[in-house]
Symmetry: C2
Subunit: 306 residues, 2 copies
């Protein structure tokens, strides 16, 4: 993100509560961060059905105080950092900028092919929240931006960008983090990636698709496990197939342990460090069950309490 902060001058940052995303962007080093609220404050006609609240008016910056018109401002990139709190006006403003002459506010390109890049911080169309059924997420808004752009420009295409899953770069970044963690926590050589990474997720379109793509590309193994407790609905056909389908995250962890132990149990050449397995555990593994470990703490207590 710091790379982007160096590359782009004025950026539009979308999403989140109040000024949070502007603060985050500035903490990344972005030098000139404007928000949809700033634009609406300068020209209320931008979003005919959105009235800024008093605190939004107070916190939004006065773009006209720069001594000119909105059309003096050129947005060099758009970042959707968190879920939009007002889809209609954020969509309108993103489309205005996508249709502009090179990012210049309140202008229109003749061919609609010179807007600045638009980045979304993730890509899940659906996510599993407190509601019984999955909710629409940022990926839906991303799709909407692209679809409506095509509609209003008579068929021109807009290609926006997304960080995060299922982009392989996200998994490569995770690999680097894992290597650092293995080095600092376990004294392993930082240059060695883990032999196998078990990736547990609830969303076929991001978690499983990305893990499988990373597995194709990577020297080490990325093993996708899909759980039934989130976006994926048991009984349906996932668009991207996991290596293993289980009920819960605990089942996924048990599956990974079993699979690793089975590898060790059948490994004859003595390579790799053996785990201290007693006869009962080996028997359990051979029967496809999870061995009983003596755990001093419940590793899931924290996750459940969160």
């Amino acid at each position: 993100m710091r790379e982007f902060a160096n590359k782009y001058g004025t950026v539009l940052v979308v999403g989140g509560e109040g000024e949070k995303c502007r603060d985050v962007a500035e903490s990344y080093g972005f030098r000139d961060v404007i928000t949809p609220g700033d634009i609406i404050k300068a020209n209320a006609a931008t979003a005919p059905f959105r009235a800024l609240t008093e605190s939004e008016i107070k916190n939004s910056r006065d773009l006209l105080a720069r001594g000119g018109k909105l059309s003096d401002i050129v947005v060099e990139a758009v970042f959707v950092f968190a879920d939009s709190r007002d889809w209609a006006s954020d969509l309108q403003i993103m489309l205005d900028i996508a249709q502009s002459k090179g990012g210049r506010l309140e202008t229109r390109s003749e061919n609609f092919d010179e807007g600045p890049p638009i980045y979304f911080s993730h890509n899940d169309v659906l996510w599993s929240a407190a509601h019984e059924h999955v909710r629409l997420g940022m990926g839906a808004l991303r799709k909407i931006v692209e679809t409506v752009f095509e509609d209003v420009t008579g068929g021109r295409k807009l290609k926006t960008h997304a960080f995060g899953k299922p982009q392989v770069s996200t998994f490569e970044f995770a690999t680097r983090l894992l290597q650092q963690w293995r080095a600092t926590q376990h004294g392993l050589a930082e240059s060695e990636p883990p032999e196998t990474v078990y990736f547990v997720g609830d969303t076929p379109e991001s978690d499983i698709k990305g893990t499988n793509a990373m597995n194709e590309k990577s020297k080490n193994e990325w093993y996708s496990i899909l759980v039934k407790t989130g976006v994926y609905q048991a009984g349906t056909e996932p668009k991207h197939k996991p290596r293993k389908l289980v009920d819960t995250v605990l089942d996924a962890v048990n599956h990974g342990i079993r699979r690793e132990m089975a590898k060790l149990g059948t490994r004859k050449d003595g390579k790799g460090r053996k785990l201290p397995l007693d006869d009962a555990a080996l028997k359990a593994i051979s029967e496809g069950r999870t061995p009983n470990f003596d755990l001093s703490v419940d590793p899931f207590a924290k996750a459940v309490a969160q």
Copy 2:
């Protein structure tokens, strides 16, 4: 609309400020009108990023006071009566209902083919408002509902309905109104439709498309005129071609008058009532100019003042 009020019991009404659309629906005779606010009040997890305001909480009805769960309520039809003030939550709730078992709240259909009908009160993707550039309208939200439905159901299609232009039924309704008006105002036989209707509009996709379609179907002539003061941008190729392109509404009216007068001027058989044209007016028409009328009032004063 009264027909719908008789046909459907519980309906979801979307759009508008506060409770206005509920009031409108009830004035049409709808017997049980619920709003997205009612649903969010009963289950805040429905829209994770929307917090109802105090007045929304106060005005929204308590659906659980009916003595049960949300899943006891079956929505028989959805009406978008005015522009949505919160696209994300209205979209979520419309999609929830479109994916439900026959309109039953908080349920999911197995095949996503049993949702109740969804009606939009108009269909313009873009409209010309106070902003220099056209703004997204209800037609964009309609398209979004259909597109995102397809996305989240793995490719199932959702066909929503729209009232108003460009639906031919809207033009047929206008014809009936015109016939009544001609009868009461001018004593003409109500059974006779006007020979020619000049339809002036700014939006090729609704005004011109609809007028041309009506002209195809109708015995009388519907003549489409596109103006340059609204959605249509001068110099571009309109998706639907008008019979005449002019600058302003005044030019459209002048064009209609000229065309009618030219018809009269060249009509030799004496059929039809002649307008009292003096020599100067006839000369003006023959030169393609608009005759000067003595007008006691400025017919555009009211339109401009509005």
